[in-house]
Amino acid sequence: MKTLIYYFKIYRRLAAQHIKSQMAFRTDFFFALFGLLFSSLLGFLSLAVIFQTISRIGGWNYHELLFLYGFLLLACQPQWIFFDNLWHLSGALQTGDFINCYFKPVNTLFYFISETISLKVIGRLGLAVFLLIYAGNKLNINWTLLKGFCFFLMFAGSALIYLSVRIMASSTAFWIISNISLMNFLNRLEDFSRYPVSIFSKPLQFFFSCIIPFAFIAYVPVKTFLKTGAVTLSWFITPALGCGLFALACLVWSLGVRQYTGTGT
């Protein structure tokens, strides 16, 4: 508990510093805010356009898909807000800046990600909440305390899965140094998790559930949530997987940290 409070205090200081430095570039902040919001809005708009012509995709109607999309956006938020620095790992390894993390008496992953806190994505957070409320209303979900709790657990699980995949992907930089194309590739894949995975062919379904488990970020939890009535054991698959993957991601990270030798300057 003591260490937790200690970490929290450090994080608050560092985050405040980062926000201050960001405030120096206000126009940049607003453009990024709108750009990111707009890119997510597009997912919503393209669904709206497609549903002008048809009424169902793979057995899912418009509002169910909006709910799915909202859930996906929400599950990605923790990574986008708190772990944005993962994008810069490859750069920090190339310049040697990463060596800083070894000199601090705190966890390397914690120290590295606490360098930035990205508030640019709050527009997307707003959109996610809006979509969940709007679509949830249209779908007449009868919320109970238990359901609400399970929804939160699933969200936490999905967020952990997404975060873990990101951590592992950026950790590859410890071995291959330049991994921007891999990170971009993941971005592209992430766009597809907003559709029901069941519409894809078997090999792609396998790919999205076993190799890069993006099916579990939105499709699996939302499907169990919307389409099974009572709470059963299957509701806890996502949270359990999330915890397992996160442990694995931390392991990969620490292996990488041990492996890195600096730039020698």
Partner: protein, 263 residues
């Protein structure tokens, strides 16, 4: 002209060095093609015939080829240019007895060529051969290549204008993001233009962006007669000229304001 082609050659060689990049780009595009295929198959599941005048295979080809074109024409010129303005590297280019605007175009052309051969054409061949895409074979293939090149020119000149104007906005990543999204959506690369409601369609066709994806893809599909194709190519050229003028105007203005400290 010879010196400019030397720049093209340089970027070509540069591009070949980064093979991991190429690998993930091609793999990503391949998966994109498959995902688009199954997604639109599900969309067409209840209506085996045509939706909005497009058959399933036509809609699929439309989007899959658009996705491949996006890879060809994404230049990052705006990004590089604004970085070199804000960091001051641009002086190095201003010293040279070359025109910066032309230099950037030839530079991006090298990347375009590399991607055309390494990712673009193979992807399109893949779409045609594996999915049996309804591509018309004839004079339109020549028009398609020309239109592809125009699409690239349009992209690079839009990027140039955006990159230069980023100087006064102090922002580039957000601007680039917004620009990419707007172009992809308004050009029909995410949802085919025929799927939009009629009044919006009219607006989209009047905007320049349809020239980047909608025109080349329609030519490839053989949905345009020879006269129409030529007309669309002329419209593309008109918009390219428009963006060149805008870009150069911005550029001249920026050069006057530009001060770079120290060195």
């Amino acid at each position: 002209m010879k010196k400019y082609f030397a720049i093209t050659r340089n970027t070509l060689i540069d591009a070949i060095v980064f093979r991991a990049d190429f690998f993930f780009r091609t793999l990503g595009n391949l998966i994109y093609i498959f995902v688009v295929f199954y997604l639109w198959k599900a969309i067409y599941a209840d209506s085996p015939g045509e939706l909005n005048g497009l058959t399933f295979l036509q809609a699929f080809t439309y989007l899959a080829v658009s996705g491949s074109i996006f890879i060809l024409v994404e230049t990052w010129v705006d990004w590089g240019l604004s970085l070199s303005i804000t960091r001051g590297h641009i002086v190095m280019n201003l010293y040279l007895p070359l025109d910066l605007h032309l230099m950037i175009q030839f530079n991006a052309f090298g990347t375009f060529l590399f991607r055309l051969v390494s990712t673009g054409l193979p992807s399109i061949l893949f779409i045609v051969l594996v999915f049996n895409a309804p591509v018309a074979i004839g004079i339109n293939l020549i028009f398609f290549i020309v239109s592809l090149f125009f699409s690239f020119l349009m992209s690079v000149n839009i990027d140039f204008a955006v990159g230069v104007s980023a100087f006064s906005f102090e922002s580039i990543l957000g601007l680039k993001f917004m620009k990419d999204c707007i172009i992809l959506f308004l050009s029909g690369a995410i949802v085919p233009i025929p799927f939009f409601p009629k009044p919006i369609q009219a607006i989209l066709l009047a905007l320049p962006f349809q020239g980047m994806y909608h025109t080349p893809v329609n030519i490839l599909l053989g949905r345009l007669s020879v006269e129409d194709s030529l007309l669309m190519l002329c419209i593309q050229m008109g918009w390219i000229a428009f963006f060149i003028i805008i870009g150069r105007l911005f550029y001249r203005k920026i050069l006057k304001k530009l001060t770079i400290s120290g060195g």
